[in-house]
Symmetry: C2
Subunit: 163 residues, 2 copies
Amino acid sequence: MSKAKPAVATGEILEDPAFEVANRVFFRLYQCSNLMHKNGTRFMADYGSTTQQWAVLGALARPRVRTQGMSVKDLIEFLLLSRQNLTAVLDRLEARGWVERVKDPEDGRSRLIRLTAKGEKTWAQMLNTIRAFYEAALDGFSLEDQILLYRLLDRMKDKLSTV
Amino acid sequence: MSKAKPAVATGEILEDPAFEVANRVFFRLYQCSNLMHKNGTRFMADYGSTTQQWAVLGALARPRVRTQGMSVKDLIEFLLLSRQNLTAVLDRLEARGWVERVKDPEDGRSRLIRLTAKGEKTWAQMLNTIRAFYEAALDGFSLEDQILLYRLLDRMKDKLSTV
DNA sequence: AATAATACATCAATGGGTTGCCATAAATCC
DNA sequence: GGATTTATGGCAACCCATTGATGTATTATT
């Protein structure tokens, strides 16, 4: 069944290419995510923020959202997080005075999460650091490379959502 | 979400394409990682394992490693995790009887982590579930797509390591 | 032989992620 | 008006991840 086996690494690939390639994809995804959080959070040390918190702030800083805010429900759908986890992150952001929970005038059950003035100011400063991080982390990536990577991850996200 | 106004999203892009594209890349990375862990771990519910634990088992199940084991130091470098975190994961794997710590005969300071017989048997069964997960999560991805994605993530990993 | 570096472990604190269950208030449905 | 659904929050348990500081055994250096 098996001929003389070559080197280990290539040997694995040859035996089951589909599995080995997929395995590498997800392993790199795992490593990239850990590195992104570790070094991204290190970049934000001056603000005491984390990458996850900046994801929330980024969602709230979008033009359309900035004025009226965003419900917890919509934030959950946007960030793909569990309610319990998001609540804890929002608590920390609220404790720092960066976001506030206001009652939705149109639906008393809903809370609209909004950037505070302090939050907006902090976010504006953070943006410079985030920019620097993106440039360093994607150094050598052409815009085409980045778009390609985004599209592949986007497709993967959809598949992972329905798996 | 109610009015049809595509101007916002594209407007942001036009204002600062480099930033917006990078932002999307890392946001998708964040989402994909969370989804991978959530649904990957759900797939492994029968074994009570997590994606992180299967990464460790996968490292230990490689042909060259399988017999002699792997030092904690090498595992840290391979998985890119902190020692404190890896110790905890290994403790759980050891408590389940899937791995064991043996003294390195060549260096008394070092511990070699090895799959136990029970660990090997469990891993062999897990592989079927992992295969199914990979196929579902990469459904619609040609082998070329997967290799492309792997290479992009691999480059990104290198950049993120030195950022 | 004394010193320094290495490999591992432990304890502590903080933050992020999940699931599951329960509680409360407000909107909706009948 | 009463029952149900929806949106949020709280509590608990578990796991994963980081940093920082401390300790201990072993190897390497000098």
